[in-house]
Structures are given as C-alpha cells and as structure tokens.
Amino acid sequence: MARPVASGRRGGAVAPPDPWDPLIRITHWGIALAVVSNGLLNKPGGTVHVWIGWAVMALLAMRLIWGVIGPAEARFSAFPPDPRAAMSHLVDLVRGRPREHMSHNPAGALMVYALWASLAVVTVTGLIMTDGQSPVTIAEQKAAVAAGDWSMLAKSAGKEDDEGGLSEAAGELHEGAANLMLILAMIHVAGVVVESRALRRNLVRPMVTGRGKGR
C-alpha cells in the first residue's frame, strides 16, 4: 500500500533500465529459447538444430553490434568485465546488501561475457562440423538424398576424410562448450533469483515487459 510513494521516491536512483530496450529483450529470449531447444530438445546435428544455430548466430552478432552502437546501458562500456568488482558484488550479495548498478551488475556482467563466449565457441565449432554449409544447402542435400541421389553424400564424405581430425576436435569442443553453457545458464537463473530476493525487486520483469501497466 505504501508502494506508490516508494516508487515515486525511487525516480532518480541508479538502477538498470525498466524495461530493458527491446533489442536486448528480443536477443535475450531468442538466445535463451535457442539454447534450450538445441541443447535439450531437438536432435543434435539435425536440420532444425542447424537452422536454430544459424539464427542464434544472427542474434548474437546483433547483440554484439548493439554493444557498440546501442544506448548507454546496452554498451560494453556500461558493464566491463571486472572480476574484482564481481567478487565484491557477490560478497555484498551474501551479506544481503547488493548495490544497484546502471546496467548488469559486475557479477552478472561476467556471466554475460562467459555465456557469449561459450555461445560463440558452440556456434563456430558447429559451423566447422557442418563444413560451413548453410541450413538451406543442408536441407536441399537431405532432400536430394531422400529422393535417391547419393552423389551429394559421396562428395561430403570425401571431404570429411581430409579434415577428420579437425571435425572431430570441433565436435568435442562443441559438446563441451554446449554443456558448459547449459550449466552457466542455470547459474545465471539462480543468480537472478537470489539477486531479486536481495533487492526485493523482480529482475525478470524488466526483461519481459517492463513496468506492466505503462506507468
């Protein structure tokens, strides 16, 4: 009941934007959806898997470009990777008194970079594994093979012999980085829950719709 008063007072305080800008929200949930579906749901190496992989590459690229040209709190300069600040933020969090930050908090920022890095590794190794073929090509090949044309298959099989070692290493890395990313994502979710509790503020809402009733 005292909420209208409190929100009025909080007007000028330093806090992450509520809501986050739409490009951040779209890329965030797009990537989250892609990670869940490619990591847990669909068939690894299937056509859908590759389609989603390429889409996620686009989303990641857009977010990274936005990190240079976007509004202040979307830019990398607003959340530089700073392990020491991240540690002190975690200590504050354990004490139950985390400070507000204009963008991602230092610990969250480290998580962002870790997730991006592992996502980039997964994407690049995935490209190596599929020989850089676009999902369009792959789909066409599969259609051709299904129609009884095996020549495509022979061509790609020949190639694989040359780069067998590289492709295998890429495969290992792909799987390892993907698993790492899933673990990081779980820690990320846990971190959001803990921080929301400590700040007594729902941190998910600004990433979805913002302040709801257009207030």
Partner: protein, 187 residues
Amino acid sequence: MTRKGRLQPAALAAILAVQGVAAVFFVGDALADLRAGPAAPHSVFEALVVVALVLGMGVGAWQLRVALDRLRVQDRALATARGTLAQVIESQFTRWGLTPAERDVGFLALKGLDVSEIAGVRGVADGTVRAQLTRIYAKAGVSGRAQFAAWFVEDLLDEGLPAPASHTAPLSAQEGASALAPGHRSD
C-alpha cells in the same frame, strides 16, 4: 501515450531481429553459391542484396537508437514532473497533519480509486476508509473528494497564467495569515 511510445521501438527491434536472422541465412546461401560459381551473375546479384540488407539493418538500428533516446528523454521529464508533484503532495499532507494511514488513503484517493477499491487495497472495511476520508477532508478544509483533488491540480493550472485574483483567493488568504510570521512560509 507512453504505452504507444514503447510499442514503436519494440516493433522496430522485432523487425531488426527478423532481418538479422534472414540476413545470416541469406549470406550463408550466397557464400555457398559463391563457392560453387564465383563471379556468376547470380552471385553478383546476391552480393547486391546482401549489401542492401545490411544497409537496411544499419538504418533500422539507427532509428531504433533514436527512438529509444527520445523515449528516455520523455520518461525523465515525466518522472521529474511526477516526482515534484509527489513531493508537493507529501509536504502538504505533512502540513495538514495526516496520520500514516490517512496519507496512504489520501494518495490512493488522489490516484482515483473509489472507497471500496481503497478498502480492498488496504484490506480494511469500507466504513473505515470512509471515516478516514472524512477526517482527511476535514483536516484539508475541503468539502469532498473533488475539491480535495482540485487542491493539487489548481496549483499546476495557475502556474504561468496571469492569475485572476479571484482564483487564488483561498490560497492568498492562507498566505496572508502566515506572512505575519516571517520564515514560516506555507510554500
């Protein structure tokens, strides 16, 4: 108004995302074609389309940035105005000597909630709220809800106008009383 203002950047960003995904697929396909047959008319055409797509995305990103910046300026102005009004209301409530419960009820009443809604929000009986409102009106010296709300709006409306003397009569009477004691201005 703010809601509509937020929709535009959201739509821009959504289109940008679709464009980006489409561009990546198209570039991948164009690269495959380029590998198969470089400098073929088909590849040249595809390269052109890629350039157009990327340019379009650049313009879209710039527009999004501009829209977000404009929205931010509006939000800040609105927050400032809102914050100032809230401050004015709070200090006036203090001056009237409202209790904490009465302050809450007063705020909710100013926000346009009716008696049963206020009772619902505060988890008390309608009668309690009605009694509190009556006490608030008495302390503020107003006849009812309309005058209570008008008390704060009146200041905003008078601001910047060549105020006709009759309009500010109740206020200036108040001020006249406190003007006798210097340093005790009633805002």
